[in-house]
């Protein structure tokens, strides 16, 4: 394999962006340690890595949002002295954000106007024409755009607009954070044309993505991050997807998943979903038998969160039937769902799962407090003992049971959430991105814990954007596209490639590939033209 920089030819003054020896710690989590990264003018330098590998923190440091504990940032040869996004912008750095930075209520033209540095702004009353002309350069069909509020754009349109907005300031270097998560193949192509144009103009492009085929297509150099450390920078021409995957994962991944125990218990249908329909998904039907782990795969924005919200009682279904352990559910409240044994482990742990200011013990027993009470009174000793045992069993790293969970690392926070399933013992566990923002070490503990629950007869429905995780953890995988199950991948065919293929191929498509739809937002404007 090709390690190290492909060539060290260019001198430091040429670089449009240099990060040297950057380290940053958040609480107990080491997000970056001694990372160096640079970008030359007219180059696309891709940054790849798993969720939580430090990509976003690196971008934050480069763009002046995050103050590094150690290390130096230089933009266009000038050192960024403070953690100031305004200063970074002034030095010639622009950033297209992943979670968009648009003012939702304001029209597109105003958003664009605000993004332009004062010197490059048109007279205020002519901003519409100006916006239309600028946006036209980016393959965005702009007839309706300038006046519609930014909040009305589809996700795909917003992502493309983010890039356009970043380029308005005429930067030396532009950072793109996962710019294609909501884009279909046509839009990705259009974005890549824009990027190629930037490259021709001598702009340095830092391209962060976890979609390797895209990265290999567009990038000149690729840097791999894992657990906050660089695994090396590689020439895109001489690197293969397989080599990159090995570096990103950093372990033979088959070994890192617990094997299901072959138990003699008789199978029974635990969760039966028939014709379930809700906001932006359905009708879907599937059945989970006791002990099963079933994955939900699909590109983002195809109804996955809505499906989980409905199954957990957060949003009522429009039609269909859900049966748990033979009992019909109306799913009009989370209270009912929990009572019937359906427990959601939300993806947004801090806001939707944990009471971050409260301690580990209190968080663990949120749903099972009745087990630790007699009449109205708490049996504190029993509670402390049970939670203490779980802390040991799940290897939750905390100085004490009373430690507020906000001081724990992402992995340990998730373990606290998972510990609830050991106390309440639900028959259906809905895990939404169970290892997002979780360090690699804790991931295995979480997989093991969830498997332990299913080996006890519970069923687990996992939504994950990581095909490796789905392939390793699940017994079978359902592929969701536009809210429909378009494919079921049985256990013996389950591997990463198979899942990715199913996702990118989309629904009802022959191999002739007449069109590639269903991957992302159906409403996105697609204007196919050859450059």
């Amino acid at each position: 394999m090709n390690t190290g920089n492909p060539d060290e030819g260019s001198s430091d003054e040429d670089l449009v962006l240099t990060l040297s020896g950057v380290s940053r710690q958040f609480g107990a989590v080491r997000a970056l340690s001694n990372v160096s990264f640079d970008c030359r003018p007219g180059e696309v330098h891709a940054l790849v890595g798993e969720n939580g590998s430090g990509k976003s923190t690196l971008l934050g440091v480069a763009s002046g949002f995050v103050d590094p504990d150690l290390g130096k940032v230089q933009i266009g040869g000038k050192t960024l002295r403070r953690d100031s996004p305004a200063l970074a912008r002034k030095l010639g750095l622009a950033m297209a954000y992943q979670d968009t930075s648009l003012i939702q209520a304001e029209p597109v033209k105003n958003n664009l106007f605000l993004a332009a540095p004062p010197g490059k702004r048109p007279p205020y009353w002519r901003r519409k024409k100006w916006a239309r002309r600028l946006l036209g350069e980016f393959d965005l069909d702009m007839e309706l755009f300038p006046d519609s509020p930014a909040g009305f754009l589809t996700l795909a349109e917003r992502q493309l607009f983010e890039v356009a907005k970043a380029l308005v300031s005429d930067p030396k270097v532009i950072l793109l954070d996962e710019p294609t998560t909501a884009l279909g193949p046509d839009e990705v192509e259009s974005l890549h044309r824009t990027i190629a144009r930037c490259r021709d103009q001598g702009i340095g492009v830092v391209y962060v993505s976890h979609r390797l085929p895209e990265v290999l297509e567009i990038a000149d150099r690729i840097t791999v991050l894992r657990d906050g450390e660089t695994q090396g920078t590689f020439n895109a021409k001489t690197t293969t997807e397989h080599e990159l995957v090995d570096l990103i994962v950093g372990r033979p991944f088959e070994a890192a998943f617990p094997q299901p125990s072959v138990s003699a218990q008789e199978k029974s249908e635990v969760l039966v979903v028939e014709g379930l329909q809700g906001q932006s998904f359905g009708p879907v039907s599937f059945t989970l038998e006791s002990g099963e782990v079933v994955g939900i795969a699909g590109a983002e924005g195809n109804g996955q969160p809505q499906l989980f919200d409905t199954l957990s009682g957060r949003t009522p279904p429009r039609a269909g039937r859900v049966t748990v352990d033979g009992k019909d559910l109306t799913l009009i409240s989370t209270h009912e769902a929990i009572g019937a044994g359906v427990m959601l482990l939300p993806g947004d742990r801090k806001n939707e799962a944990l009471m971050t200011v409260l301690g580990v013990r209190v968080n663990a027993t949120v749903q099972s407090i009745r087990q630790f009470s007699r009449l109205l009174f708490l049996r504190r000793r029993a509670e402390r003992r049970e939670v203490g045992n779980l802390v040991e069993e799940l290897e939750i790293r905390t100085p004490s049971l009373e430690q507020p969970v906000e001081f724990l690392s992402g992995g340990n926070q998730q373990k606290v959430a998972v510990s609830r399933t050991f106390l309440k013992k639900p028959s259906v566990i809905l895990a939404y991105e169970p290892t997002q923002g979780v360090d690699v070490g804790s991931r295995f503990d979480i997989y093991k814990a969830l498997r332990a629950r299913t080996n006890d007869g519970a069923v687990l429905l996992v939504k994950s954007s990581d095909p490796l995780e789905l392939a390793g953890l699940c017994d079978r995988v359902l592929v969701l596209s536009r809210g429909q199950i378009i494919e079921e991948i049985p256990g013996d065919e389950l591997n990463e490639v198979r899942i990715v293929e199913a996702i990118v191929r989309g629904p009802g498509l022959s191999r002739s590939g007449q069109s590639s739809l269903g991957v992302a937002m159906p409403k996105a404007p697609t204007r196919v033209e050859t450059p």
């Binding site: 929990i338 806001n351 799962a353 708490l378 203490g388 040991e392 100085p399 430690q403 804790s442």
Partner: protein, 350 residues
């Protein structure tokens, strides 16, 4: 591997408790300042005034604390407080046999006010600030109208007024009622499921909803119980004044909020300590008494009171925790970086 009795256990307790510390420091400072510059504050008469007015403030502050823990705020305190006092007079009809009926009526009607607040805020999800302000107006209006229906010199039953004057262990009886109520809340939060759920829901209503807890019911209960506490304070205040007017509740708009904040509660909900809130009420009452003893003009008293509240917010609750967190981060940095990454799990389970 962690154990529950690691040395950091003490550190954790310190971090958790640190948000409630400033009020006790403030009390000590107040005692020192008062003993030097205004020793009359600490005389028998001065202290018994503090014990009494501190208690009225403490009981209303406990109510406000519940509402703030539930993520809201209650500006209907003056209205409900006055309601309690006036209903005590009106229903008491100056006959001792009717004392209990009047107390029940005062507390019951206040609970109704709280229920209205709770349903509009917890159920219909309207803004707590504006709803309680509006409901407080309505209550004040109704109480004013009701007050006009009985003779202007009407007073509370003399039995109640006399009960007030008897001391227990040298301190007047309302003080002990405040102590009992505070102890009750301390106990409830520590040892009962209801108290636990209440804290959990306040700390994160969204996560509580996802976890299947009944968030609305908890919020409604907060307003109902809070209103009942305001009424209790109102009744006790009426017993002191014998013939309360319709504006007696006015000072109880800002006071309870100040006590809750200085007591270290998190304004985002969930975290508060009944004991520190109680202590903060006495701090504020003591400060008031000291300024009176020192002969400060009333206008200046208002200014000092306001400044103390702002100062209290500067060193209170959420900000302290943030500071402690910052210090901990600095402290941890070198040790954590040297620590090797977590054990590898490549060998698989078992």
């Amino acid at each position: 591997m962690t154990t529950t009795r690691s040395p950091s256990s003490a550190l954790t307790s310190f971090v958790v408790a640190s948000r409630y510390m400033p009020v006790y420091l403030a009390l000590i400072v107040l005692l020192v300042v008062a003993s030097i510059w205004a020793p009359a504050t600490l005389s028998r008469a001065g202290l018994s005034a503090v014990a009494l007015f501190g208690t009225y403030l403490a009981i209303t502050a406990l109510g406000q604390m519940l509402v703030i823990m539930a993520g809201g705020i209650d500006l209907s305190v003056p209205g409900t407080f006055t309601l309690g006092a006036i209903v005590m007079v009106g229903f008491g009809q100056q006959t001792d046999e009717r004392i209990w009926i009047a107390i029940l009526a005062a507390v019951g009607l206040a609970a109704l006010v709280g229920l209205v607040n709770g349903i509009i805020i917890g159920g219909l999800k309207l803004n707590a600030l504006i709803v309680t302000l509006a409901v407080g107006q309505v209550v004040t209006g109704i109480v004013n109208r009701y007050h006009k229906t009985f003779a202007i010199q009407s007073s509370v039953p003399s039995g109640l007024a006399d009960w007030m004057t008897v001391r227990f262990l040298g301190i007047s009886r309302p003080f002990w009622i405040g102590v009992v109520l505070t102890a009750l809340f301390i106990f409830a939060f520590r040892y009962t499921t209801v108290g636990r759920r209440f804290q959990v829901v306040g700390a994160n209503p969204v996560a509580s909803l996802v976890s299947g807890l009944r968030v609305n019911l908890n919020q409604i209960a907060a307003y109902v119980v809070a209103a009942m506490l305001y009424a209790v304070a109102g009744v006790l205040f009426a017993a002191l004044l014998r013939n309360p007017g319709v504006t007696i509740g006015a000072p109880y708009l800002l006071g309870p909020i100040a006590a809750v904040v200085i007591g270290g509660a998190s304004l985002t909900g969930g975290l508060a300590s009944p004991l520190s809130t109680w202590a903060a009420a006495f701090f504020l009452a003591g400060l008031n008494q000291m300024m009176r003893v020192m002969g400060l003009p009333t206008a200046l008293q208002f200014v000092v009171f306001g400044l103390v509240i702002i100062g209290g917010m500067l060193v209170s609750g959420d900000r302290i925790i943030k500071g402690v967190e910052q210090v901990l981060r600095e402290r941890r940095r070198p040790t954590r970086i040297e620590k090797p990454a977590k054990k590898s799990s490549i060998d698989g389970p078992g």
